[in-house]
Structures are given as C-alpha cells and as structure tokens.
Symmetry: C2
Subunit: 317 residues, 2 copies
C-alpha cells in the first residue's frame, strides 16, 4: 500500500447546525483527510496536539490504520474551533478559533515520512507547507489546499507553493478571490498558469469542477437528503480523492482522476450525514463501494441501455 | 418526426446584464423551447402576438421548421418583459411586465394539434395549461413548468395540473417553495407524490437533479466560460430535453431520460452565450452534437481507460 504524508490540523471542534450540535468533538483537516484516505492508502499524519487531547481519539485513529508517529504532543491545549452553520451549508460562521499548541507548530517529518512519495498539504500557513516539501526527498505527487486567510495574508508564499504542487484543491469562492475572476472556470484557468496541472474547485453540494491540462470536467455531488454537519467535507473530499489516486499508482490517467473526484464526493456525502467524524469512523469499505458504484452508474449513459418497466406511458388522464 | 405542441409566451424582451443589453428582442418561453426542440422533433406553437410583432421573427421561426399555425395575432401589442441580471445569474430582476395581448390569451388548438401525442405546457396560468390538455385527444407524454407567481396565486389549479403531467420541470428555489422543503431532493420527493413520475429540478449553472420513480440522478451543467444572457435558459433546457425524448419514442428508458437532461443542459449552454435567441438561431446540429458528445464523454468512467501522455509525473521541484 502506498503511503501519503498529510500535514494539517488536529482539532477539537464545537459545531452547531440547524440539526443539532457537537461539543469539543474530534476534527481538523488532517483527521478528516486521514479517515477518508485510509480506505485506499496508508496515511501518516504530521500534526500537533496538546496534553488534553483525549486518548480515545488517538486509539480510534490508530485502530483505523492511521500512522500517528508524526503527531507531536506539546505542553498546552489542543487547537479548538467553534463554528455554526445556518440554512446555507456552504457558509461556515467561525465563532472562535483557539490556536493553542497549533501556534507553535513546526512540522518535522520522520525519516520514513521524508521518503514518502505522496504529500497532502492541508490548509495551513503556506510557509509551513513549504517546510514540509523541503523535508521530503523525492515526492512524485503533491497536493495542497488553502483558505481565504492565507490568500489575503500570505499571497506570495501561497503563489510559491502553487508552483510546487501537482494538484490544488480550492473552494469555489476562494478560487474566485485568489484569481480575481468571476467564474470557477476562469479562476481555474488563471490559477493553472501558476503551476498546478490539476485544479479541483470544490463547490460543496454542487459538486466539483476539475481542470486537467486544458480540459474541464464537471461532476455533481452525490445527492444527500439530510445533511447534519458539513464540517470537514472539503478535507474528506480531498482524502477520498488523494487516497484513491495514490492507490492507482497512475496519476496521469484521466479515468483515475475522474474516479478520484467521485470517491471524494462519495466520502464527503457520508461525512455530512453526522456530526464530527462519527460517520467516517464507522464507514465500512463495502458501504463506500456500494454508494460509489451507484453514483458512477447514475452518471453513465450507455449506448444501448436495457429497458426498465414502463414508467411514463401508463394512461394518466 | 414526432410532433410536440408547446403552449407559452412569445415575447419581446429587453434585458440588461453585466455584459451588455438587448432591446425588444425575440423571447418568450414558447420561442426558446421551440428553437431548442426543433433539432429533434417537429414543434407546433400555441401562442399569441400583437400587431407589432416583427415579421422577421415569424420568418426566422418558420424557416427553422417551427409550425406557427397556432400563433394567433390579436389587435394590440405583443407581450413584453424588461429584466436585469446582476452578478448572480440565477437571480433575474423583473423591472416591468407588459402582458398586452397575452392578457386575452385563450389557447385554442388546431385539429392537428389536438391529435398531437406530446405536449409541453410552459409557465403560464395553470388553468390555461389545463384548457390545453382538455383539448388534446390522447397525448402520451405531457410535461409542464411553472413559476413562483402561480405557486402563490393558484396553488390548487397548479396541484391539479401536476396530477395530469408525466414530467415536471421546476427551478430549485420554486421547488422548495412549492413543497415547503429545505432541499431539492426532499422537494422532488414531495412533489412526486402529487403526480409527476419524473421531476426535473433545474439548478442553473449547477445543473439539474432528476427524480425518476424512486431514484435520483444528479447532473452538472455544461461548463460555460462566458455567460452573456441567461434569459430563456430554463425553457431552452426543457426544449432540448423534450425534443430529444420525443425523438426516442421510448420515454421509459432511463438512458433516454439521462440523455434528455444532457441535451437540455447542452442547448442551454449555447443559449446563454449570447443575447436573446441569437445563438440558438445560428446553432447547427453538428455543433450541438459535438458539444453534447464531449460533455457525455467527460462524465463517463470507463473501466479500462487509455492512457494519455504523462501529465502529473514530470519532475517539478
């Protein structure tokens, strides 16, 4: 199994949505990413926690096969995020961010992590993202994410990182701000000039737009009837995408890239069905494959399809 | 070629967007629908115009093979709509609506139209939609659209029509209002209990959600880089959908229904590229098929795909 190094946050989240709330529950970009990617690849976390990080979270992640040797414990408290979602689930309101030990985070890779061939740089300070890449010996697949905060506060460092990654994951709104373009397509076109050969614009419930070379691929999200908590959906998407793509060992095959998008949105569709990481923790590979298969099938347009029983031509009047 | 009766507005639209404007240009739901459906089926319009309706529009439509025998000219002026689109292209601001002769519109079908097997009832008064159905002898495929105005002012008449149609086209926001549900999925589920076996929720730039029986199919819109004028996109979508589906003569085949969605969004993608009906007027079948083929292909995930040239694995650091 190939191995992915992921650097990002490990957090305790307090989230309120119209359908309930969670208090100091497991969260963080590196956690969501790992819980999604673990179905396809070995994942090795680079992150930091405080003395108060519950032991059961560590045990759960280790039990799922996630390598925590690079998860450093520092004196102090774990990173905390407090947020709220209203009716518009694409709009997270941050009520409080307590960096705590995350403020002192300086990623340091183990010898094994340095030799890893795949890296995902979740949305942290682009200078820290760069320091991770500097420590790696010869990665052949590098992806990153970012957020508005870094777009505004460290635009040059972000541009430098974009020149070093193969795949860039970015929210639609952030892509527009970063590129100063009015549409996701135009944004992806501009950003691709800065380096990444593959741009994945995440559109939440509306799916994703992927630019590969000069071509665009638009995919819907898996339709979810009841969303409880969208926290972590973007990192879960990236985890499913990167985990699957890594497992194929052929990152240039467009079918692999399409399947990566569809695994990403399928995993995200599970994640939003419950608070925190609950649904991801309990997700069996068989349930994942069943939904993925149903979703892929729903998009296929075979030349000569079999005919189901008459549905529209019954007499109605 | 099978024939579709479409009842709806024939209008002169004045539209302003961030990319330009048009003055008293050809528009109306029946017109957009016809110009899209004509590629696949014979279309016969039931509508009304005033004495001031430009002769060249009549000639253009007739030249495209659209049957205008049911387009009645009344004393007075043609229906006019004045609207504006801001940056959010899903949000049309109506500045003025002049019903003019449309206020006196009482659809009357010709003997040939009464014998037609397919009907599209564009978004007009649901009582008028019903009067069209009452005049038809034995249609085997009936579809309708509606709008917020009728949802609020004639809810009972609208519910009666929904009990008589096979396919219901509806905007996402209108579906939510009509069903009092928070999501497109839940809305489609509720509305399908009122009659239509197929619900197509139109999501503009985000594509469409189709409910067929108990299953959901979500499709993206064809990615358009520069939208000039979204006026008529919904009716163009319905025209492509209904035209294609009619041509297959098998309305129960799920592959046909999927292709209908994809022809609909492909035709809409052309329509929004220019003001009024300009792009639809000049659209050749070959250009339509080329874009449709490219779009369908972009969604397919073949088991064993051919490998394009290496794209991601070039050395980058």
């Amino acid at each position: 199994m190939d191995s992915i190094v992921v650097v990002g946050s490990v957090a305790l989240d307090s989230v309120k949505t119209l359908w309930g709330e969670s208090q100091e529950a497991l969260g963080g970009s590196a956690v969501y990413f790992s819980l999604a990617a673990r179905h396809f690849a070995r994942v090795s976390v680079v992150g930091v926690i405080g003395k108060d990080f519950p032991k059961e979270h560590r045990h759960m992640l280790a039990e799922k096969g996630i390598d925590l040797a690079g998860l450093k414990e520092l004196p102090g408290k774990t990173f905390r995020w407090v947020g709220r979602f209203g009716r518009d689930l694409s709009d997270a309101k941050t009520l409080a961010t307590h960096l705590n030990v995350f403020a002192k985070f300086r990623p340091k890779l183990s010898p094994a992590q340095r030799r890893s061939k795949v890296a995902f740089l979740a949305n942290i300070d682009p200078d820290l993202q760069a320091s991770v890449l500097d420590q790696m010996q010869a990665p052949d697949l590098i992806a990153c994410d970012t957020m508005n905060y870094w777009i505004h506060s460290k635009p040059e460092a972000l541009r430098r990182i974009l020149g070093r990654v193969h795949i860039f994951f970015v929210n639609e709104e952030e892509a527009k701000v970063l590129s100063r373009q009015p549409t996701a397509l135009a944004a992806a076109r501009v950003i691709s000039h800065w380096g990444p050969k593959v741009i994945v614009v995440k559109k939440g419930e509306h799916g994703a737009l992927m630019k590969v070379g000069e071509r665009f691929y638009s995919f819907p999200a898996y339709p979810v009837e009841s969303v409880k908590d969208p926290t972590g959906a973007g990192d879960t998407f990236a985890g499913g995408f990167m985990g699957y793509l890594t497992s194929t060992r052929d990152y240039d095959d467009i079918s692999n890239l399409k399947r990566a998008v569809l695994y990403g949105t399928t995993l995200a569709s599970f994640n939003v069905e419950d608070f925190s990481t609950r649904r991801l923790e309990n997700l069996a590979r068989a349930a994942l494959e069943a939904r993925f298969g149903e979703f892929v099938d729903s998009l296929q347009v075979p030349g000569g399809a079999a005919r189901p029983r008459p549905l529209l031509t019954e007499a109605r009047r």
